[in-house]
Subunit: 424 residues, 2 copies
């Protein structure tokens, strides 16, 4: 393949759906690809709530990025943390590595939880955007229950109560999974606790849940969660989060030893290095997904304000959008390098949207005719699609085994607290 | 069952093999059992080296103690850390809980790594006695390799080299598993590193490996490890451990970015509360496994100097001894409470001893005729026995799936670094 010309160097920042999608599509391109992430694993974000509620072991949802290297000769990986991007010098600096130059840059560094300035949220709310978040939330929940087992008065005090903020997919899926954990799994683990006294409250600012779906689905979701002992507060906001309660916009308070935050994203600080004004906290890109004045710099995933062509619709911050955008960028670079062809504008193919509400209950909308499924059929479909999406064979197998056990036995894979930093 | 008399209270300290064995055998006894451990999981210690070398996910080896509560009505569990034992007041105090009284006490609090005063060992050696140790060692190894991937000069510097101290089962199994990881798995993960330059050295003070087996097994083990690129140094001691090397008793130094310590145990501080003089760092007990002057206080597992009846042999600190001793104590308490019968002295039944040296290589001695197996047959037997021993169905299934993948594909389940305390 070598004709003596040095190959272009593609630097991909971030091993999420966007970065991985780009890397894979560059497999046969005559370029050298360097993928960098501050972790050594790719996170399957749509299942984080399952780690947080102890359905899946963390290893199942975090897949080693290095495995990509096995199958792809032109790819190298480095675990490093980006500290700056210099577009003019075409150089990226790192906190823990020497600067790297590029011919093409693909930026997919994700986002951060946005607490919208809510008092106490930074200190007390549990966001659910990274694998570390999921583990932290799980360990917090388990610790609360172990404490209550030693002092059952805590259960009556509200220390076990949970408030989930945000009625989008993260909030709905988490609330549903918590209901499974609290009312189906924990009664066996903690026979001395009166778990029916423990409350789960889902607070949503808008007037319905899963607002991206149609109203029938919102109604089904509300009904299912309510049946499963989740109190849903619509049209309600959160004014303050404390260690043991949440204060609502309407003035009331709800006891809560745990507050889960599933309500919004904000840009990572590095977005500022890209030299463009953010729009709704996201980096605007062209129809080819690059920066307007830097055709060699692509931005994908939750960082980017990605629009569909030809519709012009702004696309939501979803894993499926990030993956397709990343793949599109990989194909674009390949076309430019190998075949010297012009790139296509990015068109997003909606392959369906789904959310689970717990065991044997889910909602799904399937294109092209927007067929709506609810209940067991949607749940089964959700399982099949997510198994197919998990990135590696072994994760898939472990996930299947975990799910099989969880959903057939009402039991969980782990439910243990292990800290590498325990004194022994 | 109740005849108005209050039931005796059995307090079990430690959820290891000893404590779990005792708890299970008390299932039908007319007593109230309270099992306390500072963790919420039971550790399957014989497989810790597999977690450290990334064959098994931590969840597989740490099993939720609370699941015992499901099947056993007279059992309660609390996660708490023992701070003191008052034999006269029959009371145990905790760092994080109110004092608890008992009629019978079963103490199985394990042991600690003994560095025998080796300079630098506390700071730099990695013991392998708890699940936290195993995770810490694994993360240290993965971090070293990620650092070398960014700066390949580190590989030549010896930062990837490992010294394993101790030629007993822990040292042999760890060295064998490291060889698998370094020479069969990592070449795919780190194609830019010259892994053949990375050394694994096993240092043993005595003149052969696995000294509890016969000499043929020791010779097979030495040959197999040597074939697998492990340098074995017999009759050698360790004088000093530093961050980047080990100094041997004979004066030479070996570069080592990682030193694994598998060489000995010392008593936990609480052993001093039991009012007896320790023998070889262990608590001496009667043939009924209780303290000489306290027939209501039993000591089991690595803490105890357990002897076999009628042979009088001192038994080794092994999981199988701890399990049988714990079960014996459970049966003893049951006999005393329910049937008012005298206890039997403890007799240990040797069900065989095994160690693996890596994929498809293991050694085993099978009673009653001390048949010796080596190679694939022993390896297959080792797998079957350990699967049967893993305490819960779901762990068993996950372990099978992990092993299946690891040993058929040369690949590993996770190889990821996740910290709940990462900033995000």
């Amino acid at each position: 393949m070598s004709d003596g010309t040095p190959r272009s160097r593609v630097l991909i920042l971030g091993g999420g759906f966007g970065g991985i999608g780009a890397a894979r599509k560059l497999r046969k391109a005559p370029v050298d690809v360097l993928l960098v992430d501050r972790h050594d694993y790719h996170t399957f974000q749509p299942l984080l709530y399952q780690v947080a509620t102890d359905i899946l072991a963390p290893e199942t949802v975090g897949h080693p990025i290095r495995e990509l290297v096995h199958a792809q000769d032109n790819l190298d990986f480095a675990q490093a943390t980006v500290s700056g991007i210099d577009l003019d010098a075409r150089t990226v600096t790192f906190e823990d590595w020497e600067p790297q130059t590029y011919d093409y840059l693909v930026v997919g560094l994700g986002a951060r939880a946005n607490f919208f300035g809510t008092t106490g949220a930074e200190e007390h709310a549990f966001p659910l955007y990274t694998l570390s978040h999921a583990i932290r939330l799980k360990e917090h929940l388990l610790r609360r229950f172990e404490a209550a087992a030693k002092d059952p008065s805590l259960a009556a005090d509200g220390t076990l109560d949970v408030v989930v903020v945000g009625g989008g997919p993260t909030g709905v899926e988490t609330a549903g999974a918590l209901s499974e954990l609290f009312y189906n799994v924990f009664p066996q683990d903690y026979p001395s606790l009166d778990l029916s006294a423990v409350s789960i409250t889902l607070v949503e600012h808008g007037d319905r849940l899963l607002a991206m779906f149609d109203e029938g689905i919102s109604a089904y979701t509300l009904e299912t969660l309510t049946e499963r002992n989740v109190t849903v507060r619509l049209g309600e906001s959160v004014d303050e989060i404390a260690a043991d309660h949440v204060t609502l916009g309407s003035g009331g308070t709800i006891p809560a030893g745990t507050t889960v935050w599933g309500a919004g994203l904000q840009p990572v600080p590095l977005s500022g290095d890209l030299g463009v004004e953010l729009v709704r906290g996201r980096v605007p890109v062209t129809e080819h997904l690059h920066l307007e004045h830097h055709p060699e710099v692509f931005v994908v995933g939750d960082m980017a304000l990605t629009t569909d062509s030809p519709s012009g619709d702004v696309l939501p911050q979803l894993g499926s959008v990030a993956l397709q955008a990343g793949e599109h960028v990989g194909v674009t670079i390949d076309r430019m390098e190998r075949r010297h062809k012009d790139p296509h504008p990015f068109h997003y193919v909606d392959k369906g949207t789904m959310a689970t509400i717990g065991r044997r209950a889910a909602v799904a909308v399937v294109p092209p005719h927007h067929i709506t499924l609810t209940g067991r059929a949607a749940w089964a479909m959700w399982g099949a699609v997510h198994l197919a999406l998990l990135t590696g064979g072994d994760s898939r197998m472990a996930a299947m085994s975990n799910w099989f056990w969880s959903f057939t036995t009402h039991d969980r894979p782990s439910r243990v607290l292990v800290h590498p930093d325990d004194e022994d």
